[in-house]
Each structure stands twice: as structure tokens, then as C-alpha cells.
Subunit: 189 residues, 2 copies
DNA sequence: GTCTATAATGGGATAGAC
DNA sequence: GTCTATCCCATTATAGAC
């Protein structure tokens, strides 16, 4: 599954052969088919890997006491990943874009579910920040959309510095938002 | 070329066969090969079509006297395209993402050139707005990155309303910038 | 220039020995 | 459960008639 997630991220779904994944996992081709009946199942496995990765990351960030610090730490991980983003884009985002080109109603929306995990996590942080306005859901959309945008731009232009520039802007934006928040007693849940 | 650009946008490069393009253009397969020696040449033709499209759009917007109005009109065209963006993403952005998965140093960076056209146009508008700070190039990156982000999110979640929500935010951000208020994307005005 | 038929290749999926 | 050999189909690209 790790090998599948990795190779599918680097080469994309359509340009990845089962042989590629088998080679990366150092097993023969027939062996892959013993565990995954179709190529689509390998894609789903990669998606599940991304979900778990994200869950592990947020579990770690949730240890931080302040939602602002959590959000900025998330932005920090994005900036840290700038080189891989500039070369291959966001693993989930590029996968979603590729799957959405399919006509069949198969797994093409499952990548969206992983992105929703990120949206929901971010929304919780904004809600804890205690800003009723704009809506936490809108702020979450702006943040995750910002990440997807900067990843795609960095990838298209092959320039990791784009992640740094846009990441800093997001951090300044978060700071400005938090500076506006009501005093602690009036903080909503 | 129009048929190629259209089908490649909807199906993606890898899932599109020459037969698909031939059928869309209503010509036999062999005929396509008479004008385009390889599939890659069809992809390049699609990219050229996108460039021309963008050039025609900006030529029209450049008629507007005020750079702020030009920028907001551009955001307006993005919002107008919300349904197609939600289904197939930004034509150039999704193409760039797909081409960047290639290992060969072929046409994989040419989509980036088309995106640079958008960045340069936006940068000119911000420079004309007369704001020295932040850098017009950074503002352009934020704007185009915002468009790519909202397109990908709308596509991944199959929700055109995301284009409306994020598009409105970009418009408020532009207004705030022009009014020389501190830049605060996400802030409702 | 237009079209049909077909060659050549690559890769998803399977059979079956071990 | 592991691995090799192979089937079969889709697709790129070309040959050659008209």
C-alpha cells in the first residue's frame, strides 16, 4: 500500500502500471493481484494511506493547546513539503484531479472525501478560535483551497519557493484573524 | 484543435484516445494523424488553444479603464465558469497537473508557460493599481493560486458553489486592496 | 487531402505450477 | 501464499487505396 501510494503520487494513476507498483514493493506482479483484485483497488488503498497519514498528523497537532498554533503548524508542514509539492503536487489533490476525469461513477469522488477530512479539521480549529464571522466553514475552505492552489502552482512552475511565499501569506492571514478574536471569556466553542 | 482541447479537458490526456478526438471532430482517425504526427502534438495544440483563449479574454478586459475592474471582471469569468470547473476543473490547471506526472522532459512544463501568462497579466494589473506593498508579483500569485485552488476544490467536491464562495472572497479582497486597507483575505466586508 | 484496414505495442488481468 | 508465463484487449501509429 505504501509503495502504491508513493508510485501513484509520483507517476499518476494512468501512467502507473501494476508492474511499476510490484517493482517498487519488490514483489512479482502476480503477487499484487493476490491482494488487490484490480488496479482501482490499489488506488483506493493509496487513498486510504493518505487518510491515515492525515489522521496521524492531525492527532499530533491536536496536542497543541491553541487552535491558532495548530493551524500554523499545519501550514508549516505544507511549507516543509515544498520540494515534493513542486515536483509532484499534493498527493490527494492531484489524485482527485485525475480521478475526476473519469466518466464512470466509480472511485472518482473518494478523493473528495479525503479532502473533506482536511476541511472538517480546519473548520473545527476556526470554530475554536471563536470567530463567528466569517463562517468557520468558509475560513476552512479558504485555507485548504489556498493549500491546493499553492501546491498546483508550485508543481506547474516547478518552483518550491511558491510554497514558501504563499505559506507565509497564509500564516500572516491566520495571525490577523486571531488578532481579531474576542477576549478569552467570550470565546465560543 | 478545438475538439482536442475540449475532449482533453473533459477526459484528461491519458484517458483520451485519438479515436475520441477524431469522433469529436467528426473525422476519421487517419485524418487526425495527417495533421498531428503524435498524440503529444495534439496536447500542444490544446495548450495553444488555451493560450489564445486567454489572450482573447484579456484583450477584452484590457478595454476597461480601471485595473480593479479588470481584475474583478476576471474573477467574474471564473465564477461564470463554475459548472464546468466543478465537473472538469480548470482546463490549464488540470492539464498542468497531469503533464507534471511525466518523467520525460517533454511538454510537461509547457502548461506552466500558459499559467505564467495569467500571472504576468495579473501582475500588470496590480502594478497599475499602484500598490507597492505587497509586491505585485506576490499579489498575482495569490490571485491565480486562489483560482487554481478553488477550481480544484470545486472539482474534487463536485460543488460549483465553491467557485461562488471563494470568488466572492477574492472580490472582497481586491476591493480591500484597492481601498488601501490592510490585505485580509477571508475577511468579510 | 480523405479514409479504411491493419500492424505493432503495451499493459490489465488470469491460469496454474510450486 | 508466491511466482512465471501468457491471454486478450485497447490504443498508437502506419500503409496504402481512393
Amino acid at each position: 500500500m505504501t509503495a502504491a501510494a508513493d508510485v501513484l503520487h509520483r507517476q499518476g494513476v494512468e501512467r502507473t502500471t501494476i508492474a511499476d507498483i510490484a517493482e517498487a514493493a519488490d514483489v512479482p506482479v502476480g503477487n499484487v493481484y493476490y491482494y488487490f483484485k484490480t488496479k482501482d483497488e490499489l488506488v483506493q488503498a493509496a487513498l486510504a494511506t493518505h487518510s491515515e497519514h492525515f489522521a496521524a498528523l492531525t492527532a499530533e497537532l491536536d496536542e497543541l493547546p491553541d487552535p491558532l498554533e495548530r493551524l500554523k503548524a499545519m501550514v508549516g508542514t505544507w511549507i516543509d513539503q515544498r520540494d515534493v509539492a513542486a515536483r509532484y503536487g499534493c498527493p490527494t489533490g492531484t489524485l482527485a484531479a485525475e480521478l475526476d476525469k473519469r466518466a464512470d461513477g466509480g472511485i472518482d469522488l473518494e478523493a473528495g472525501e479525503v479532502i473533506k477530512l482536511a476541511l472538517n479539521w480546519a473548520e473545527r480549529q476556526f470554530r475554536e478560535l471563536g470567530r463567528p464571522e466569517p463562517e468557520p466553514a468558509d475560513l476552512a475552505l479558504t485555507l485548504i483551497s489556498g493549500y491546493q492552489g499553492m501546491s498546483l502552482m508550485a508543481n506547474a512552475l516547478r518552483d518550491p519557493e511558491i510554497m514558501t511565499r504563499e505559506g507565509s501569506r497564509l500564516n500572516r492571514w491566520l495571525d490577523a484573524l486571531a488578532a481579531d478574536r474576542p477576549p478569552a471569556p467570550g470565546r465560543s466553542v
